[in-house]
């Protein structure tokens, strides 16, 4: 490029104005400089992709809504999403990148509990606000972290007695072999015992197990009245297939805390899934206006291949809006001010109904639902209004111990 006299004058003049502007407008301009950055860490490839995809869609929807309404504090909200590819190592890497290089104002993300425990300390260290929007085993007690998904006291506690009333007292527990499955299995055992039943055995499955034959024989040999399942991911879907193929579908009924999170009812045949019980903080089939509008907005944009819009998507959407309200209330994106605003017990009316931040635990009080699979869809049987995260509040008090960062585990 040759530099002509005219171009030189034009560029220096423009530069001069740009230099002068901050001095003229002063501190008011600082709020205008650049967008507010929202970081997102979700798996869009690998075994957990079907779970991550709708969560990212929900976050995109929330961000679009915020920007359509003029942004936050007059600034645009920019979404920076990294695909963690179902790989824990990438979670650590991208978490550092978001906190240190991109300097985002908040991060929403993490799917498995293993990924959350990999990135939570990173955000603590770099003092970056973190939202974990997935249903999980409960017990995280960390002032920098907000958990908008359900915990066992909100779902398992409803599911187990309901299933035991229907089917009997002897339960066999199967779960995925990592921290979520391990701890959820303990909760299942506790609620089975609390309701006067017996947990015959607990079996854990690594995420890449594909042949469930021997386990199915073990379960038959134990002769349980019902099966409680916390199986996770695509490979584990095969369990339900092989279970039905062995003709056990009608013999031993199943209640699950994870069935449906990766589209199982639509994937499996009617005969393989009918009658399975599940309990979550949201179902795509809810017919409230907020819920139908939410599902329609996502499906209109992303087409028929969109995976099931589960609690994870609803909680992600609600998480972003709760954070946005806190930013508005605080008038800044500064971390402590936003945390304090959230701790006032902020409320958002989302697709699942009213969601309220619990000040002591940084979890949420929210509606939970109990449903049964019928004709490859969920049929919502019962609604439990405004369930508090009692499991975590029994062990966690961030008002008294603001420096706590432990994840408490249940002991049985």
């Amino acid at each position: 490029m040759t530099l002509t006299r005219r171009k030189f004058i034009r560029s220096t003049a423009a530069g001069g104005i740009a230099f002068a502007a901050p001095a003229l407008i002063g501190s008011v301009a600082r709020a205008q400089d650049g967008p507010i950055k929202l970081g997102s860490l979700h798996d869009l490839a690998g075994p957990l992709a079907a779970t991550g995809e709708p969560m990212v869609y929900a976050i995109m929807l929330a961000v679009d809504e915020l920007n359509a309404a003029g942004g936050l504090l007059g600034r645009e909200v920019e979404l920076i999403n990294y695909d963690t590819q179902s790989n824990i190592q990438l979670y650590s890497q991208y978490a550092q990148q978001l906190a240190v290089r991109d300097k985002v104002d908040v991060i929403h993300g993490g799917i498995t509990s293993a990924s959350r425990e990999a990135i939570r300390p990173i955000f603590d260290r770099f003092k970056t606000l973190y939202f974990y929007n997935t249903l999980y085993e409960g017990g995280v007690c960390d002032r920098n972290t907000f958990n908008t998904g359900t915990t066992p006291a909100q779902t398992v506690e409803k599911l187990v007695p309901y299933a035991m009333n229907l089917w009997g007292k002897k339960a066999y527990i199967i779960a995925a072999d990592y921290n979520y499955g391990q701890i959820t299995a303990k909760w299942m055992k506790k609620y089975v015992q609390d309701n006067g039943g017996e947990a015959l055995a607990i079996d854990f499955f690594p995420l890449d197990v594909t042949n469930f034959g021997p386990s199915i024989s073990r379960i038959q040999a134990a002769k349980p009245d019902l099966l409680l399942s916390a199986m996770v991911g695509g490979n584990h879907t095969a369990f339900y297939r092989q279970w039905a193929a062995a003709g056990l579908k009608g013999e031993i009924p199943i209640a699950s805390t994870t069935f449906g999170l990766v589209n199982e009812p639509a994937t499996l045949e009617d005969s393989e899934s009918v009658g399975v019980l599940g309990s979550y903080g949201y179902f795509e089939e809810l017919t409230t206006p907020a819920s139908t509008a939410f599902v329609k907005a996502i499906k209109d944009k992303h087409g028929a291949q969109t995976p099931y819009v589960s609690e994870l998507a609803a909680a992600s959407y609600e998480g972003v809006h709760l954070w946005a309200q806190a930013v508005k209330m605080a008038g800044t994106t500064e971390r402590m001010a936003v945390i304090e605003a959230l701790e006032t017990g902020l409320t958002f009316e989302g697709p699942s109904g009213k969601v309220v931040i619990d000040t002591k635990t940084h979890h949420v009080t929210r509606n939970t639902f109990l449903a049964e699979v019928e004709s490859r869809k969920w049929k919502v049987l019962e609604t439990f209004e405004q369930q508090a995260p009692l499991d975590t509040s029994a062990v966690c008090d961030l008002v008294a111990n603001p420096n706590d960062t432990t994840q408490y585990e249940i002991d049985i």
Binding site: A45, P214, G233, A244, V262
Partner: protein, 288 residues
């Protein structure tokens, strides 16, 4: 007693699925000394071909037994023509190339069909042994494994094609001087290996969660079976599948699925330490 029969069936099913998922890999490795890291994706393509044909209204048996192997066999031929044939004799390069290929296939399938799980219901019902139940699909898989092994053996032993294949396998240069075109034999072998993987994928579709990434769950087991078996296609595959399938299923039944996998891998490490050339390298040397 009933439980013994059921566990026996589990063992048979474990062995049969190892034979099926490893056969394609064993043929390609045994005959061409190529390590096909896209093997898991060939299985996945077979499963997808089955699921999509069934949802398009094709009879499930036709989909599993005809469409899946034919489709994946064609894919194999194309892959051999466009990629593998430039890399014969370069072991590390073929590993890298087929690994890249596997990522491409996973990515492409995800783009076209999305990341959701698809599947078909298992076509046969269950049956009862005393107080226990099992799936009829288990003996069916065992039957298919036996049929597959028998036909590989018959083709290799009694047909002219098999004779040429064995000749090229033993000494490609000598075979070439006798008028055999090794390029064509390699192409056909790779296609046949891919077709076997496609068949296995099709047969697994009703008992697996079919997703673009499903290959990863099978490839490790297929590899230890082939490495444990050694270069003899038939005897290596059968003995290694028998050994590992038995250990895995019994251990999973007696302990937990976690230890089932752990014990399997320990057994594999021990075996390869004692027999570095695999079972067939020691006991079935030079046999098919």
């Amino acid at each position: 007693m009933d439980i013994a029969i059921i566990v026996g069936l589990d063992v048979v099913s474990g062995i049969a699925s190892l034979v099926l998922i490893s056969a394609g890999l064993a043929v390609i490795f045994g005959m061409m000394k190529i390590i096909n890291l896209a093997h898991g994706e060939f299985l996945m393509l077979g499963a997808y071909a089955t699921v999509l044909s069934v949802s398009a209204g094709v009879n499930i048996w036709v989909a599993m037994l005809v469409i899946a192997p034919v489709f994946v066999g064609l894919v194999g031929v194309i892959v051999e023509r466009c990629l593998i044939r430039f890399l014969y004799g370069r072991l590390v390069d073929t590993m890298l190339a087929t690994w890249g290929l596997s990522l491409m296939i996973v990515g492409g399938t995800t783009m076209i069909f999305g990341n959701t799980i698809v599947g078909v219901a298992s076509p046969l019902g269950g049956f009862t042994v005393g107080a226990y139940q099992s799936s009829l699909y288990t003996p069916f898989l065992a039957l298919m494994a036996i049929l597959l092994m028998t036909s590989v053996w018959a083709v290799m032993r009694y047909t002219r094609v098999g004779l040429i294949a064995r000749a090229v396998m033993q000494n490609p240069d000598m075979a070439a001087t006798l008028g055999v075109n090794p390029t064509r034999v390699y192409m056909a072998t790779f296609g046949a290996g891919a077709a076997m993987s496609g068949l296995a994928g099709g047969l697994l579709a009703p008992v697996a969660g079919v997703v673009p990434t499903m290959g990863a769950a099978y490839i490790a087991k297929a590899f230890i079976t082939v490495v444990g078996g050694g270069t003899s296609i038939l005897w290596g595959l059968i003995t290694a599948s028998g050994l590992f399938g038995f250990i895995n299923q019994i251990a999973a039944f007696l302990t937990t699925p976690v230890f089932g996998e752990v014990i399997l891998f320990i057994a594999a490490v021990g075996l390869i330490r004692m027999l570095p050339t695999g079972i067939s390298g020691r006991f079935f040397k030079g046999r098919l």
